[in-house]
């Protein structure tokens, strides 16, 4: 279709950061048709990063992180409180859990992730067992903290778990952090930086238990009392915070014919969804935490990034590509950026450190907990960087990554001039599809690929 898209009905599924920014961008770029935003939570779009920081420390109320509308959204229809249940691409409709059918010309999928629950139901429902993903989660956790607790046990020392531990210490609450890896933040930043993070925990009074897992959450009278660890020890506590990462909200797409699954919804670099047969769609776009997109800067690997910046920029790129002329479409190619504040230290990263083999400290001192480090791949190219209280340097490293530069040497004279292994844990093998995808047809030019529904055999096709 030449020129501007003539789409009249755009539906955004997901009413959080990416959904709101997508809507604002559509209006800013001139879309004046019918815009519908569907969200499973009852709340208007709110910001989540503050929940584990200024909200959990008590400075900001849990319901005071509502996101601003930076563009007039005009006549926008909000369908909140009911999740989407199906995407019927043949009919061009989003079907909600209550059966409501919402027709679309173009749809933007921005359903994000939810907290990975504690795997044992009867333990997960004990009083005092919490997650931190929604404002409701944060309010419940604060309720526990303010009721007076003897100890909090945090399960998982990624960024969320570390920030929760930091907020507990800020409140003067004893906290035990249990992490499967040898140090906090190891999955995102590797073992070298993980050791620095571990030091941050322990010097701030956290009881850090690494290299162990939680075997069971024990309770009495329906209330959590203790966590049994894999090393045979038990941690008595009143609150358990489950911070085991997220699960991508893709189940509602199972029968949509899109290449979606536990790893996300596959998309091209321009945020267009990929179908099960590997073909790019032209009317379904994806943005935010749920998008698994090919990144031109990282060998076209499919990346999912649960970063604030990725949701904002991905939604802006997707929304613009939805309504601009096809030849004007742009890739979502910005270098990933991430931040965290914990124990009074500002942590920033750019690029994708977890793709690296090696790391070199380039500025400052890891011993002092204030430094910058660059990550390199096996060819010696810089693929990421991290700063602890060196945030003003992050743009410098971003520039190096954008230019695919060589891993830099240290800028401070007293630092070792050779990189060392970054010590990332091996990536766990993850299956992309729950059900199997099979190729059908006999003539090479008439073949297709389909996803088998549960319980069906390939012989049925």
């Amino acid at each position: 279709m030449p020129g501007k898209s003539r789409a009249q009905r755009i539906v955004i599924v997901g009413a959080s950061l990416a959904g709101l920014w997508g809507a604002a961008t559509l209006r800013k770029e001139g879309f004046d048709g019918v815009l519908t935003i569907i969200g499973d939570e009852n709340d208007p779009p709110y910001d989540r990063p503050p929940l584990t920081k200024q909200v959990l420390t008590g400075w900001v109320a849990p319901d005071h992180t509502v996101l601003p509308h930076l563009e007039p959204l005009g006549d926008t229809r909000w369908l909140l409180g009911t999740p989407a249940a199906h995407l019927d691409r043949r009919a061009g409709e989003v079907v909600l859990a209550d059966g409501t059918r919402v027709p679309y010309d173009l749809v933007l999928i921005a359903t994000g992730v939810r907290n990975r629950p504690w795997p044992v139901d009867e333990q997960a429902t004990l009083g005092g067992v919490c997650g931190v993903r929604t404002r409701g989660d944060a309010a419940r956790l604060i309720g526990h903290l303010e009721a007076g607790v003897s100890r909090v046990v945090v399960i998982g020392a990624g960024f969320t778990g570390s920030e929760v531990a930091s907020a507990c210490r800020h409140r003067g609450i004893d906290v035990t952090v249990v992490e499967q890896a040898q140090a906090p933040l190891t999955g995102a930043l590797g073992g070298v930086v993980g050791d620095v993070a571990a030091n941050l925990h322990t010097t701030n009074g956290v009881d850090l238990r690494c290299g162990v897992t939680v075997d069971a959450l024990e309770g009495s009278g329906g209330t959590f009392r203790a966590a049994a660890l894999s090393d045979g020890t038990t941690v008595d506590a009143d609150v358990a915070v489950v911070a085991l990462g997220g699960m991508r909200n893709t189940e509602w797409l199972a029968d949509s014919g899109l290449a979606s699954g536990p790893l996300g919804v596959a998309a091209d670099a321009g945020c267009r969804a990929v179908a099960v047969n590997g073909l790019v769609t032209d009317d379904v776009f994806v943005a935010g935490d749920v998008a698994r997109f090919a990144h031109p800067l990282f060998d076209y690997q499919f990346l999912t990034l649960e970063h604030w910046e990725n949701a904002v920029v991905g939604a802006q790129v997707a929304a613009r590509n939805m309504i601009c002329a096809p030849e004007d479409r742009r890739p979502h190619a910005c270098v990933p950026t991430f931040w965290s504040t914990q124990f009074g230290v500002n942590i920033k990263s750019v690029g994708v450190p977890s793709l690296a083999d090696q790391i070199i400290v380039t500025q400052g001192s890891t011993g002092a907990g204030s430094f910058a480090a660059a990550y390199g791949d096996c060819d010696g190219r810089i693929v990421g960087a991290v700063t602890f209280d060196h945030g003003r340097w992050i743009d410098h490293y971003r520039g190096l990554i954008e230019r695919a530069a060589a891993l830099p040497e240290p800028y401070d004279a007293d630092l070792p001039d050779k990189p060392e292994p970054a010590r990332f844990p091996p990536h766990p093998a993850a299956t992309y599809h729950g059900p199997t995808v099979v190729v059908t047809g006999h003539s090479p030019t008439r073949m297709d690929a389909v996803r088998l529904p549960d319980g069906r055999s390939a012989r049925d096709y």
């Binding site: 369908l79 409180g81 909600l96 009074g344």
Partner: protein, 81 residues
């Protein structure tokens, strides 16, 4: 009013924390904490902070026409049809 700071852009210059200390503060030497929904009496101070930010990392809905409020979400999907 509603405020959002792009913390990927923020470099911790702390001009906002000087001009609107009830809405912006530093946690440590460069980590910014802020009130996403500051009360109305902080409006003037927040807008001064927005203007003074050296990297223009702070956005608010102050300049967005009030008509936007017409699109406040409905509580339920019942009016979908």
């Amino acid at each position: 009013m509603r405020v959002v700071v792009d913390l990927a852009v923020c470099q911790g210059y702390a001009q906002c924390a000087f001009l609107a200390p009830d809405a912006f503060r530093l946690n440590g030497t460069e980590g910014l904490m802020y009130q996403p929904n500051p009360s109305g009496d902080l409006r003037r101070a927040v807008l001064r902070a927005v203007a003074a930010c050296p990297v223009q990392a702070i956005s608010t809905d102050a300049a967005v026409p009030a008509a936007t409020d017409a699109s406040v979400p409905a509580a339920r999907a019942g009016d979908a049809r």
